[in-house]
């Protein structure tokens, strides 16, 4: 062990793996600290109001009563939806506050550790605490952001650069000499790619985000999904390299990592394009028909649902004759009156 400590290079390698280990430890802590998904779903049932329905003679006409009941139901539905939104907003605020307090505590303790202790390990430890603290605060901030498409797209890019900046800071603070990419072995290269690209993604996906919009499970084949995501990844790295090629800003470490990621993703692209081509040639009709049918079915369900909600009178009014069109409603009305 002493021999290892005497050798700065070995020590730096140990630090690097310690960074990974500690960040994973924090990640696991967050996973186990978050409430179970079943508990989150229970929120929908908290405010279901219970009561006794008593029969009462109506003063008004039957049709008016029905209309009133429909209106009441709609109002109840709206109220429940509003209450759910309020609950989600409250939960968001609580989590945002928790993330902020957690982050600030980590940042403070990390800064104190770096300031008072001059050991390499304490510097490393403090840097990691600052890293986790900043990420936590930003996560808390993003909980309050809207779920609009543009924000959703910008946030991951912002997180990437924030993570990159923080990792660079950690490496600087613990005085790690970054080797040129050509001198790194595959393990170290993979570690860098993991820390820069995968780690922030993992941190962001495992902690709750309270998305009210349900993500629809894609019906595309997995090879197609991987290919699509890989193309996005290549485009992202390509844009960064293009910007850095303009020499307007000098970020050689970022250039190294993005070039390494681009090269890696090209290898993955070779495999995925092969798999996707085979899948496309083998079962193009069945798969695509399934996808189209699913899309059509979804569209049909939505349209029919909307039309039912809106009432028959709105549907195709101009396309049919008035008597024929209202015939069904008249029959229904008569049946109810007979009862």
């Amino acid at each position: 062990m002493l021999v290892l400590l005497d050798s700065a290079n070995y020590l730096l390698e140990v630090y690097f793996w310690l960074i990974l280990g500690s960040i994973l430890l924090v990640t696991l802590t967050i996973i186990f600290a978050r409430p179970a998904p079943s508990q989150l779903n229970d929120n929908n049932e908290y405010d279901l109001k219970e009561g006794i329905v008593t029969e009462k003679a109506s003063d008004d006409h039957h049709a008016n009563t029905e209309r009133k009941e429909i209106d009441d139901k709609e109002l109840n539905k709206e109220e429940i939806e509003e209450e759910q939104e309020v609950l989600i907003q409250q939960a968001k605020k609580q989590w945002a506050l928790a993330f902020t307090i957690f982050g600030l505590s980590f940042m403070t303790v990390g800064s104190i550790v770096i300031y008072f202790f001059e050991y390499t390990f304490t510097t490393f430890f403090g840097s990691c605490m600052i890293y986790v603290g900043v990420m936590s605060i930003v996560k808390g901030m993003t909980l309050q952001l809207s779920e609009l498409g543009l924000v959703k797209k910008i946030v991951p890019i912002g997180i990437f650069f924030l993570n990159f900046g923080l990792i660079s800071l950690v490496l600087y603070l613990i005085e790690v000499d970054i080797q040129p990419w050509m001198m790194m072995d595959t393990g170290i290269r993979s570690s860098y790619l993991f820390v820069i690209y995968v780690l922030p993604y993992l941190i962001w996906t495992i902690v709750p985000s309270f998305n009210t919009t349900k993500e629809v499970k894609s019906t595309y084949p997995w090879a197609s999904i991987i290919l699509k995501n890989n193309l996005k990844f290549i485009l992202f790295n390509f844009i960064i390299i293009s910007i850095l090629n303009l020499n307007l800003i000098s970020l050689p470490f970022l250039r190294q990592v993005t070039k390494g990621a681009l090269e890696f993703s090209i290898y993955i692209l070779m495999i995925t394009v092969l798999l996707e081509t085979v899948a496309f040639i083998r079962k193009p009709k069945a798969t695509s028909n399934e996808i189209d049918q699913t899309e059509d079915l979804d569209a049909k369900i939505t349209t029919d649902y909307d039309r039912t909600e809106e009432g028959l009178a709105i549907r195709d009014f101009y396309e049919e004759e008035e008597n024929e069109y209202f015939s069904t409603e008249v029959i229904e009305q008569e049946e109810k009156n007979d009862r």
Binding site: D177, P180, I241, S288
Partner: protein, 182 residues
């Protein structure tokens, strides 16, 4: 053909275009340094006259030691140097900005004066270069073997020829060899 088929087919076509564009050493004016691969510790390369070979070293900074050896497979007496005649091969270590200038056939510079002595010419027949300590400004670097790139118009007779060069290169932080003496 359905929409999903169009999308999938489109993705495959885009992927194939990217793969073609990123073939290493593809001679296209717009690929610049996108399709360059990283250098290996030791590699056999082929350099064509009036052209160049380049690979990416990566991020370098601070005091480093540099070992560069050229190995001729044809002769033990470094016959390689004699074969160049009046057209020496320049071995360059360029940062990103200078590499782009070099690529665009514009004036370029080197980050460290020591890098200029990497050239192979008749006066420098020692093809094993060892810098124990060389101070390298923090930047992203490329290794370039330039054999009169862009000078085709200036040559008396523009006959292209190719040459196989085997090289070995190592960059380490300056204390590395003391701590790891193997």
């Amino acid at each position: 053909m359905t929409d999903s088929n169009w999308k999938r087919g489109g993705n495959i076509i885009i992927a194939l275009i990217i793969l073609v564009l990123t073939i290493p050493d593809l001679d296209m004016p717009y690929t610049k340094n996108y399709n360059l691969s990283f250098c290996s510790d030791s590699e056999v390369i082929e350099v064509e006259r009036f052209d160049f070979f380049a690979c990416e070293i990566g991020y370098l900074e601070g005091e480093m030691s540099l070992i560069l050896q050229l190995i001729s497979s044809e002769s033990e007496n470094w016959g390689l140097v004699d074969s160049f005649g009046d057209s020496p091969i320049n071995i360059l270590i360029l940062n990103q900005q200078n590499y782009n200038n070099f690529y665009d056939k514009e004036n370029y510079d080197v980050s460290n004066i020591e890098f200029l002595s990497l050239n192979i010419n008749e006066d420098n027949k020692d093809l094993s270069i060892n810098f124990p300590i060389i101070d390298i400004p923090s930047d992203y670097y490329f290794l370039v073997f330039d054999w009169e790139y862009g000078k085709e118009d200036e040559a008396d007779y523009a006959s292209t020829s190719t040459l196989d060069i085997s090289y070995y290169i190592q960059f380490r932080d300056s204390g590395y060899w003391e701590s790891r003496p193997y």
